[in-house]
């Protein structure tokens, strides 16, 4: 009887261990799949790239630099305010994504949304302030001189072209439509590809944040 009992206990223990191993496997497979396979919404980098020093100025004339990215997840979008279609559409989507993220357990305290204007000629701090705060009071609008913008854009691979034409008020600006995700260690972590959708972004971000918390633990 004691023997039978111990066999039973051993079997149960063995089954539990096997189930544990199997679950861990499934979870590892799930993790690696999430990390390695880009989908239509997000591309996650297996080795996030640490960003180096840069300096920009925000919509309240405060310095926005590498230190401003640390300790927070940052969503960065490059654009310009004289942009009727893509920029307001993207910022409206990001405002909804932020609302979604704020609703889940981890909240939105450690995230920030940054609109980087590549058109400093027209986008002064005052213009940027009115613009970003229209979409969400927490949004930041930053810009700088051409070299300063090129520094951060270059590190993220964000392409843009400002076609300033003398005498033309509404010169065109071409800019990358992706949204860049920088992690709390100021590393370029992932990129969201257009067309953007608020729910898709908040869902992917939840997974990214959980994966990162798992790696840190």
């Amino acid at each position: 009887m004691p023997l039978k009992f111990s066999v039973m206990i051993t079997s149960v223990a063995l089954a539990a261990i096997l189930a544990g191993v199997w679950l861990a496997d499934v979870s590892r497979e799930h993790d690696s799949r999430a990390v390695l396979l880009p989908d239509q919404v997000i591309t996650l980098f297996p080795d996030p790239k640490p960003l180096t020093a840069f300096t920009l100025t925000d919509h309240k004339n405060r310095v926005f630099d590498l230190a401003s990215l640390k300790g927070k997840w940052s969503f960065l979008f490059f654009g310009f305010t004289h942009c009727p279609d893509v920029c307001p559409t993207t910022l409206a989507v990001l405002a909804r994504a932020r609302e979604d993220i704020a609703k889940n357990a981890l909240g939105a305290k450690d995230i920030q949304f940054v609109f980087v204007s590549v058109d400093p000629n027209r986008d002064t701090a005052g213009v940027l302030r009115q613009y970003v705060e229209y979409f969400d009071a927490s949004f930041l609008g930053v810009t700088g001189d051409n070299a300063q913008i090129a520094n951060l854009a270059g590190q993220l691979g964000a392409a843009y072209q400002v076609a300033i034409t003398p005498g033309v008020e509404n010169y065109p600006v071409y800019h990358t439509a992706g949204v860049f995700l920088v992690d709390p260690q100021a590393r370029y972590h992932a990129v969201f590809t257009p067309p953007h959708d608020a729910e898709a972004i908040s869902k992917r971000f939840k997974v990214v944040r959980e994966l990162e918390a798992g790696n840190a633990a």
Binding site: T81, D85, A159
Partner: protein, 143 residues
């Protein structure tokens, strides 16, 4: 009594306001809206669902509105991850087919509104098709 009813029905029909969708000579428009502009911004984009109900192509050649300084037709093209807006002076609607003006794609670019437009306002834009057909469309301003 009977004819009176008939007259009443006819009158009612005549007095009923036009449906929200604009329709004329086989081209119809649904869900026409303009995105409200952030404060200080004078460029807006308009979107809609166009449908050509005829058996031959229809070409949109111009858009005009007394509510704006200028209205042009554009298309956003995302190529290699870069978004650019290109002027689309003529937009063809294939026979018996729809064409959607949507964020990140075809849109009306509306410059310098004559008055500040806020969500809930409506503004009429005339769409002109090749052959002279002009279709007035009421766009709703939305946030």
């Amino acid at each position: 009594m009977r004819w009176r009813n008939t007259v009443f029905v006819c009158l009612s029909l005549a007095l009923t306001p036009a449906p929200a969708a604009s329709e004329q000579a086989g081209v119809s428009v649904r869900d026409a809206w303009i995105r409200e502009a952030p404060p200080g911004m004078s460029m807006m984009a308009g979107y809609m669902e166009l449908r050509n109900n005829t058996s031959r192509p229809q070409v949109l050649v111009a858009a005009r509105s007394s509510g704006f300084e200028s209205v042009t037709t554009h298309r956003t093209i995302v190529k290699d991850g870069i978004a650019r807006m290109v002027h689309a002076p003529q937009i063809e609607l294939a026979a018996n087919a729809g064409l959607i003006f949507a964020p990140g794609s075809y849109h009306l670019m509306l410059m310098n509104p004559k008055r500040t437009l806020r969500a809930g306002d409506a503004v009429v834009v005339d769409l002109e098709f090749r052959g002279g057909l002009v279709l007035p469309v009421s766009f709703e301003v939305r946030k």
